[in-house]
């Protein structure tokens, strides 16, 4: 829980830095604002892509860590259900992939990948940034919780190997909210792209 609070705190701080650093803010503020501190539309779009990958990636890594450690614990005592444990351990990994897909779309549709950012305004940059947030945060929190559900599923499967299906279904329930996050991110990106 403390770790989640730290991650959330860092994300909010990053968001605040970006707001303060955009040209509109920088100009309204003191004249002495250094030019390197003023983020333009390209930087904002890249920040959006980065945050989508970073947060959902952290979530997946932590979630897989929980389920993986539980699986290794069970297998270290000679339990031979590797295939079942593999499915449960891999499940929290999908959020990282969702974050990657969202980041790829941001980079593609903002024109950064093609090197054509002439039409990118600060507004658009902000829009790309905000569109990345649903998959980033939904991925972060759902992957961690899914890792816990899957670790419990591993423990249940160790005792009742035939019940692995139930453990997987309950794990997938958590996945649903990461999928919703990705869906909204994609819809927002489509609408920004026009």
């Amino acid at each position: 829980m403390a770790r989640l609070k730290r991650i959330s705190g860092c994300s909010v701080a990053l968001f605040a830095v970006l707001v303060m650093a955009t040209p509109a803010f920088a100009q309204a503020g003191s004249e002495s604002s250094a030019s390197w501190f003023r983020f333009g539309p390209v930087t904002l779009s890249i920040a959006g892509a980065a945050i989508a990958v970073i947060l959902s990636g952290i979530g997946s890594a932590v979630g897989i860590g929980y389920a993986g450690r539980a699986s290794l614990g069970a297998m270290s005592e000679g339990t031979k259900d590797f295939a079942k444990y593999l499915m449960l351990t891999a499940l929290p990994g999908t959020q990282g992939i969702y974050g990657f897909v969202a980041a790829f779309l941001v980079l593609l549709w903002s024109g950064i990948m093609a090197g054509d950012t002439a039409a990118l305004t600060v507004d658009k940059g902000w829009q790309f940034f905000c569109a990345s947030l649903p998959v980033a945060f939904a991925g972060l929190f759902s992957a961690i919780q899914q890792g816990k559900v899957c670790a419990s599923g591993v423990n249940m499967t160790t005792k009742q190997p035939t019940e692995v299906g139930k453990a997987l279904v309950l794990g997938v329930f958590v996945e649903f909210y990461a999928v919703l996050g990705l869906l909204i991110t994609i819809l927002l990106l489509i609408s920004i792209r026009g």
């Binding site: 539980a70 339990t79 423990n155 160790t158």
Partner: protein, 337 residues
């Protein structure tokens, strides 16, 4: 502490440990395993069965105690390896130091060689402890053991009663355990300790009440750290046995005490009461299956393994003495028969 007050900490440091313990739990003896052991024709066959069930019995072993000690040692080493909290290793291994201290003190004052009854599973080696006990030099001993030894010697010097040695060491042990568990803020383990102390005190109380011992012994023998204080037992001391059962209805032990008293009256033996109390603790420990992360399943496994080893010892002693299986069965927790 009530069961509803137990909260399991989401301590993800124990993710690997819990996974491993869940696998080990599938190897704990079931009713079917104990039933096979009870059916064994004699002691050697029971030992062979024990080997089949995974205990480290080799061909040349004729004694059961080294086998059980090896199994116990394996469970403690597992705790050493899996525990993320030093305090847990300390209290659960320290229990063997207190046990050894009691044995050595009794040996010293009775003039008997009791070292055979010690178990080298604690944090202080039996030799070091024996040296301290014989030389009355507590300099090298951890503070709690030194305190227990000094307290026991003082109590014995006053009364010359060997039971005083046990009582003084037990009191220090439970005091030390509740202090460490309070520091660890683990409600499951704190409640387990409270239940263990309460049940121990209830058994002591009923034994004193049954034997009509005086109230002074009650105050001497009550262990600290439970939810039912000496005052509670002093108040109900004069109640008839039938009424006594009702005075516990507001505690989690109501049903167990009522059943224990009725068995005590019917069989004039404390074996059933012991068994009922063990059942209650085993049921409590099984609640650890609700925890997915945390130290609770690890400790619960260790304690359930200890119950299993104790039950195996009862079966083997029974087989060695050619007791009928019904007699042995009566001594085993209902979980196993």
């Amino acid at each position: 502490m009530d069961l509803s007050e137990i909260t399991f900490k989401d301590d993800t440091r124990y993710a690997y440990a819990v996974g491993r313990v869940r696998a080990l739990e599938t190897k704990l003896f079931t009713r079917a395993d104990f039933s096979r052991l009870l059916e064994a024709a004699d002691f050697p066959q029971a030992l062979r069965l024990l080997a089949e069930l995974g205990y480290p019995v080799s061909e040349e072993i004729r004694e059961y105690e080294p086998v059980l000690e090896a199994e116990q040692r394996a469970a403690l080493i597992l705790l050493d390896n899996l525990s993320e909290d030093d305090g847990l290793v300390e209290i659960f291994r320290r229990r063997y130091d207190y046990h050894n201290l009691k044995v050595l003190l009794k040996g010293k004052h009775s003039g008997q060689e009791l070292k055979r009854a010690t178990m080298d599973l604690g944090l202080v080696s039996v030799d070091d402890l024996a040296e301290a006990v014989m030389g009355e030099e507590v300099g090298e001993l951890p503070e709690t053991l030194a305190r227990a030894m000094a307290g026991a010697e003082a109590a014995f010097a006053e009364s010359n009663a060997p039971q005083e040695l046990d009582v003084a060491v037990d009191k220090e042990q439970y005091d030390f355990m509740s202090q460490v568990l309070r520091r660890l803020e683990n409600s499951f383990l704190q409640t387990w300790l409270i239940w263990e102390v309460d049940l121990q005190n209830i058994k002591t109380f009923l034994r004193l009440r049954w034997l009509d011992e005086n109230v002074k012994l009650l105050e001497r023998d009550m262990l600290p750290g439970g939810s039912l204080g000496t005052g509670f037992f002093r108040e109900i001391r004069e109640e008839p046995l039938d009424v006594l059962a009702q005075t516990f209805t507001m505690t989690p032990y109501g049903k167990a005490v009522a059943e224990g008293i009725s068995q005590l009256k019917a069989k004039k033996s404390f074996a059933s009461l012991e068994r009922i109390c063990d059942d209650l603790l085993i049921q409590f420990l099984k609640r650890s299956r609700e925890a997915s992360f945390g130290a609770e399943p690890v400790i619960a496994y260790l304690l359930l393994k200890e119950f299993e080893i104790r039950a195996v010892r009862a079966v083997l002693v029974g087989k060695l003495n050619d007791l009928p299986k019904e007699k042995i069965r009566e001594r085993l927790p209902s979980e196993y028969v």
